[in-house]
């Protein structure tokens, strides 16, 4: 079945093309089209037939390729997450694709396509088990005893939140602008529409991608990690082992504030970034809670990162001269296990980073900051979209942070190893 499903989209396009041009056709054209369909099916079949995989020698091994043999090894300790992805067509046949994510770039994803859903789930369970047993474990969370209550996103709220998001607002502004143009200068409307069409399509696509990706999202807290299911047409089930979460970000856009909605995103190293998705979607990070109440966000944060530091401290008032819009949102808090920083001009962004996940620490001070005796401290993690910055702190405090934190990070890493084994 795999070959058929793989070749599916291409065949569908050709079938549609044949149907469209069906009115006037001759024998040769017909044959050529059949040949193309056959080629895709055959290609799919060959790629399926030459692919072998096994779990052995501490790694998932995949061998593939007919002309160019390729042998891939995915060592268990380095596995960051395992996803089950079910594109629309595969769902019709009850098939699923398994994706194994490693720490480095976009090419480091192992794909096993396609297998039956129960089998895929069994393989995923086995892989996760092998990877948690051989890799660094928890950030701090003691593995919960059993599956804890599940969070599920409310579809109505998701729609409302997307309608109130930044891209949607730009879209409204464009439509309003068009309406005004149409009313005042009807002859110019055509040109304006043509000029803005691509922007509108891009914005619409982004909104749709978000809806399609985050519809029906649900989270289960399990002993081996977080299980996230989501998707409308293409369902995906991700499992993120404990301790693979590099950072958490809580976002509260200005327009969501009256409703008390927040968004929680997790950053995982080597998150699969497919080329088809647009820039905005890539930057958004993996949503754990696309839109939820503060209570739900709090609950999830406590599950993943318990004992977060309390009472955040504000930067000195003179920082308001340097960052007038941001100032009211800036804060920093830290303890022996986490740093928590807040920032954002219009939206309130809170970044939570475990000390044991910090890769490097940077202290920066621009000309204006130096004049005001301020400095920022950046905490770099292996994630892609979340970066915590303690912005515009008092220069003395920033220097103290830079001096103290490396030792505290080292201690946190050592504690992690002691609790969870090497």
């Amino acid at each position: 079945m795999s070959p058929l499903v793989r070749a599916g989209p291409a065949v569908a396009v050709i079938v549609v093309a044949v149907a469209l041009s069906g009115a006037h056709q001759n024998r040769t054209a017909e044959l050529i089209r059949l040949g193309i369909i056959g080629f895709f099916v055959l290609a799919g079949f060959v790629s399926w037939a030459v692919t072998r995989w096994r779990l052995a020698e501490g790694a998932l091994q995949i061998e593939t390729g007919l002309l160019r043999r390729q042998s891939l090894r995915f060592p268990f300790p380095q596995i960051q997450a395992v996803d089950i992805v079910r594109p629309g067509l595969a769902r019709l046949f009850g098939l699923a694709e398994l994706r194994v994510r490693m720490a480095s770039g976009s090419r480091s994803t192992g794909r096993l396509a396609y297998m039956s859903l129960p089998y895929a789930e069994a393989v995923r369970g086995r892989l996760l088990d092998l990877s948690t047993r051989s890799g660094p474990n928890v950030v701090g969370a003691p593995a919960p005893a059993a599956y804890l209550p599940t969070y599920a996103v409310d579809p109505g709220r998701l729609v409302a939140s997307i309608l109130l998001s930044g891209p949607a607002l730009i879209l409204y502004a464009i439509v309003a602008g068009l309406a005004v143009t149409a009313a005042s200068a009807p002859s110019a409307t055509g040109g304006v529409v043509a000029a803005l069409a691509t922007t509108m399509i891009a914005l619409g696509t982004a909104a749709w991608a978000r809806f399609n990706g985050e519809f029906g999202l649900s989270i289960a807290v399990a002993p081996d990690g977080l299980h996230v299911q989501s998707g409308l047409v293409q369902r995906s089930a991700e499992s993120i082992p404990w301790g693979r979460i590099q950072a958490l970000r809580t976002v509260q856009p200005l327009l969501w504030r009256p409703f008390g909605w927040v968004r929680v995103e997790a950053d995982v190293a080597g998150r699969n970034v497919s080329g088809r998705r647009n820039r905005a979607a890539r930057q958004a990070g993996r949503a754990l809670i696309p839109v939820g109440s503060r209570v739900e966000a709090q609950w999830l944060l406590d599950q993943i990162m318990p004992d977060r530091p309390g009472d955040p401290s504000r930067p000195p008032a003179r920082a308001g001269w340097k960052a007038p819009l941001r100032y009211r949102h800036l804060s920093y808090a830290g303890n022996e296990r986490y740093v928590v920083t807040t920032s954002g001009r219009l939206r309130l962004v809170t970044d939570q980073v475990p000390l044991s996940k910090i890769q490097s620490i940077r202290w920066t001070a621009g000309p204006l900051q130096r004049r005001l005796r301020l400095a920022s401290v950046h905490f770099d993690t292996a994630g892609r979209s979340v970066y915590a910055v303690a912005r515009d702190r008092d220069a003395g405090e920033a220097s103290r942070l830079l001096a103290e934190l490396p030792a505290r990070c080292r201690q946190a890493r050592a504690d992690d190893r002691r609790v969870n084994g090497p």
Binding site: G135, S360, I361, R362, G366, R370, D380, A382, P406
Partner: protein, 138 residues
């Protein structure tokens, strides 16, 4: 001065241009301009070069840089993924190399340019050894 080289070249060019200027007065103005630019550049570059520094501590490497925008990076040896030693054509001519430390975080910024090739090699081996012994997972 560390960057006297390029500046000296500029000055030489300006003196030559000045020599030609007797025949063409506008040339002397241009020569003067080049000279001023050279002196200012030399001062700025010199400041930037002097601002660049690094220290190997017991557990981490510290890299400092910048004049207007000052930066200090602290990279624990255990977080190092790999070390890069590069030398462009100009650097090779002057016997210099650039050492860059990479961690799993893209934002990490620990680059030490303009090291004598010998020191760059020593630093690379030293860092590699330290990274090996203190390696921590992600």
């Amino acid at each position: 001065m560390e960057v006297a080289g390029p500046a000296a070249v500029l000055v030489a060019v300006s003196v030559l241009a000045g020599g030609a200027a007797r025949a063409w007065p506008a040339g002397s103005v241009a020569a003067g301009g080049v000279l001023v630019v050279a002196v200012v550049l030399d001062g700025l570059l010199g400041r930037r070069v002097r601002a660049w520094g690094y220290a190997e501590r017991a557990e981490d490497l510290i890299v400092r840089r910048g004049v207007m925008f000052r930066r200090v990076s602290v990279v624990p040896y255990g977080r190092m993924q790999f070390v890069d030693v590069t030398a462009g054509p100009l650097e090779r001519m002057l016997g210099l190399s650039t050492v860059q430390l990479h961690t799993a975080a893209a934002a990490s910024d620990a680059r030490i340019p303009g090291l004598p090739a010998e020191e760059a090699r020593r630093l690379r081996d030293q860092l590699a050894a330290l990274g090996e012994s203190r390696a921590a997972g992600l």
